[in-house]
């Protein structure tokens, strides 16, 4: 049995990373070019890691699902990236960023990893500026900052409402430079199908060429997965259409443990669901909460009239508005962390105060900010978001308050990794959202970009080199070995099996049904009974899928339905593990809210005596239950307490 060893370096917290780097193994420049590395995914983590590994001299093969590495879903991140620069002189520090992140994650993240993240956050900003990323600036020419949820300082750097785009294009430019040099080989429109294990180590991957339908084999000394999160298990989420959990799920089935699968982030400010044909949900950046005030009608009668379309929100006088976040959390107000804001919105809507024609929406109102600062200032800050909102909802948010509702946005869970970001399969590294990450049970806004680039630019190039140091004598890998043949046959077997079903229901119809089960029982509020029901319903749905799914078209050539079917096969298994993990955790923490475990005020109630651990699930075969391993979380540098956003 693999032992869970987090490999946290010895020494004081602030010196661990420095010590690690001082004592790690290195590969000399001449030997680096003898070593091949595979990177799957070209988002912030994958793109930046691939570029940095190539700069060091390794041969890098990079794979992405879109037609270009510039399109990974990191590009959609809007609001910003955190760093502990303390440029505004408002009391920030590496320790405070570390503290806020651990607290924001409800004390379910690993101290040493989070500290390292906070430590390298400043290097990220330097790096991106040097690349020419056009961050927002003050008139004096220096960088501007704004605030995000869960922090009392302004530490968020931004490029209008397109920070993710600009950072990703920065990583893409670095990657393009390396492709031009010839040390990165880029493969687009490829989807990873499986990982090839030789002598217990990750030594290659099988990918499907999405244009030709061919299965291709690639060998390497190490494999890095930076394949993003699995929020699309819910069908409706803010993720892109091709974002999926399959690469991580394949890693799990080949022996990598899955960490905290139930930890999902539900983002409070998304455009509400509007119809059953809807394909995705659109986020409205958290940065809007800097100036927008969230409210619902105090009187249920008003809410009902609004739902029926008989009353306009602008007609509701100030005294009849309930600014419930400011009321409940005076210290943080509208800038409470995402999990807290989401639950509070659900609570008001469940109590009958919701707005919109479904009653499942709350207002995000800019009236006061426009009166205070002028429309021009608000337009300069959020113009593109307001435009995006208007195109979708057909209402002008400068005049009518925006309607928002929580939606699935990010998965804190992912493949379990140690301090080196290595999974329980030697040679298989996992970065960015795909790993179980540094965010514990809840990620703070503007921290995903920070983690992706931290992993890719500043952590993996060191830790992967440490792993590769003793492999300089291992020659390039032949892909005609029994292990490659077997894995490729397994993939082909699944494809053949899908076509053989020859049923009558579309892939999407199953995906939508899975999404509803997940949202109802493994979503914002969970309980024992619902989770047990979800597990049995997912099993039933999986059975029905394999009896009645229809995959039209051919095995060769482009086949979008086959691509979707292969992803849904994995979602149908992953969803069950998420429910199982949520059922195991008899407490509420961060985004994981079990209705049985709450304080009298309705806040999440942790049980540190029993659940202060990372759950790491081990696959035991299709017919057996997975085995739960626990990595205890030890806090030596931070006082563990009930999260409090009511008082500073």
């Amino acid at each position: 049995m693999t032992k869970l060893d987090s490999k946290i370096p010895a020494g004081p917290l602030a010196e661990k990373w420095t010590n690690y780097k001082a004592h790690q193994n290195l590969v000399n420049p001449a030997n680096k070019r003898k070593i091949d590395v595979i990177v799957v995914g070209t988002g912030l983590a994958g793109g930046s890691a691939a570029a940095s590994l190539s700069e060091l001299g390794f041969n890098v093969k990079v794979f992405c699902i879109q037609d270009s590495p510039r399109r990974a879903h990191s590009i959609a991140a809007q609001g910003g990236i955190n760093a502990a620069k303390n440029y505004p002189n408002d009391g920030d520090s590496v320790y405070r960023l570390f503290y806020d992140t651990v607290k924001g994650g409800d004390y379910r993240a690993r101290e040493a990893n989070v500290y390292r993240l906070a430590e390298v956050s400043n290097n990220i900003i330097d790096q991106c500026v040097a690349q020419g990323v056009p961050f927002a600036r003050e008139y004096g020419g220096l960088l501007d900052n704004r605030s995000f949820g869960g922090a009392l300082v302004s530490r968020t750097f931004y490029a209008r409402g397109q920070t993710g785009q600009q950072l990703l294009l920065g990583a893409y430019s670095a990657l393009s430079k390396e492709i031009n040099k010839g040390s990165v080989e880029m493969f687009t429109r490829r989807e990873m199908m499986d990982i090839v294990i030789m002598d217990g180590k990750a030594r290659g991957i099988i990918v499907r060429n999405l244009v030709t339908g061919e299965l291709e084999r690639h060998g390497a000394h190490a494999v890095l997965l930076a394949t993003g999160g699995y929020g699309n298990v819910f069908f409706l989420s803010t993720n892109a259409m091709t974002s999926n959990g399959s690469a991580a799920w394949k890693a799990y089935k080949r022996g990598a443990y899955f960490g905290d699968p139930s930890f999902v982030q539900i983002h409070p400010t998304c455009i509400p669901v509007h119809g059953d044909y809807q394909s995705k949900l659109t986020l409205m950046s958290e940065s809007l909460r800097n100036d927008g005030r969230i409210w619902v009608p105090k009187k249920k009668e008003d809410a009902e009239l609004i739902q029926q379309g008989k009353l306009s929100p602008v007609k509701i006088p100030e005294e009849d508005r309930d600014y419930y976040l400011e009321r409940r959390y005076p210290a943080f107000g509208n800038l409470v962390p995402r999990d807290v804001a989401s639950r509070a919105a659900k609570e008001r809507c469940d109590a009958g105060h919701g707005v919109g024609n479904t009653g499942l929406a709350v207002y995000l109102d800019f009236k006061d900010a426009i009166n205070r600062l002028g429309k021009n200032v608000i337009e300069a800050r959020y113009g593109n978001l307001f435009q995006m909102y208007e195109k979708i909802v057909d209402e002008n948010p400068y005049e009518t308050p925006m309607m928002i509702y929580p939606a699935i946005h990010y998965t804190m869970g992912g493949i379990w990794v140690d301090y080196e970001l290595q999974s329980t399969i030697p040679g298989l590294f996992v970065g960015g959202e795909a790993n179980f990450s540094d965010h514990g049970a809840n990620r703070l806004g503007a921290s995903a970009l920070m983690q992706g680039l931290s992993d890719g630019y500043f952590v993996l190039p060191y830790t992967m080199q440490n792993y590769l140091a003793d492999q300089i004598n291992i020659p390039h890998f032949d892909t005609n070995t029994p292990e490659f043949n077997q894995t490729a046959n397994d993939v082909q077997g699944t494809i053949d099996k899908l076509f053989a079903v020859n049923g009558s229901k579309t892939v999407d119809s199953f995906h939508k049904r899975l999404g509803l089960i997940m949202w109802d029982h493994v979503g914002m509020a969970r309980n024992k009974e619902g989770l047990e029901k979800a597990i049995s319903e997912i099993k039933e749905l999986r059975k029905e899928f394999w009896e009645n799914v229809s995959v039209p078209g051919e095995k060769t050539g482009m086949n979008v339905e086959l691509e979707k079917a292969l992803r849904v096969v994995d979602f149908l298994e992953l969803g069950e593990l998420m429910a199982r993990d949520a059922l195991d955790r008899n407490e509420s923490c961060g985004g994981h809210f079990r209705e049985e475990y709450k304080t009298p005020e309705g806040e999440a109630m942790r049980d540190d005596s029993k659940y202060m651990y990372v759950s790491a699930w081990e696959y035991k075969g299709a017919d057996n239950e997975p085995q739960l391993h626990k990595e205890p979380l030890i806090y030596e540098n931070i006082e563990v307490k009930q999260r409090n956003y009511k008082t500073a």
């Binding site: 700069e55 270009s68 510039r70 399109r71 879903h73 991106c128 600036r137 600009q166 259409m241």
Partner: protein
Amino acid sequence: MDLKLKIWRQAGPDAEGKFVHYPVHNISQDASFLEMMDILNEELVANGEEPVAFDHDCREGICGMCSLFINGYPHGPDDSITTCQLHMRKFKDGETIVIEPWRAKPFPIIKDLMVDRSAFDEIIQAGGYVSINTGGVPDANAIPIKKEHADLAMDAAACIGCGACVAACKNASAMLFVSAKVSQFALLPQGKIEAKLRVENMVAKMDDLGFGNCTNTYACEAECPKDISIANIARMNREFLVAKLS
């Protein structure tokens, strides 16, 4: 609403393509254009037919994956948005909608409405970056930049690389795309060091790949979903001239 769709179908890069008519019914005017396409595809799949292949991903107008030439306009008739942000309320009940792929020689058709835009990646690889490695860079605030310049650089950097400019241009010119990247760096001190090589290499690559010349019709600017300004083309021309004279 009910609509008549006239969609370009083409099995592969070398296959012959043709328009095929598909009626769709009961489409909500609040649905997005691509959701309408999803509904059509669900029906096709349910009837055992092959769905229409089209590129899309983020569905919020930022990844640049979606394309489509709709009723003669790249990204459809609405202004300043991508196809995925287009909503059906922009169309009339009973209307015929013609849907084609981007048509440009450097963007060969892969299947149906999907085209290969890797030529754009090749142009960026020719010089769309600052040649620095990870680490060893100065403190971010050690490089002060005038706010106006940073804002203009951001305007240019907002390009999503979708290719609408090329599709809109009668010459299939990529000048707006290339000039947006050249401008971003021309406006920033970080980009000055390699300014000459960058503009020369990127323009040479653009020409090699078979993109046409700019004849100042401004169709690219009119159709750009991100409102990238043709002032960038003028800036690139200046950069190019300076490079050739130095």
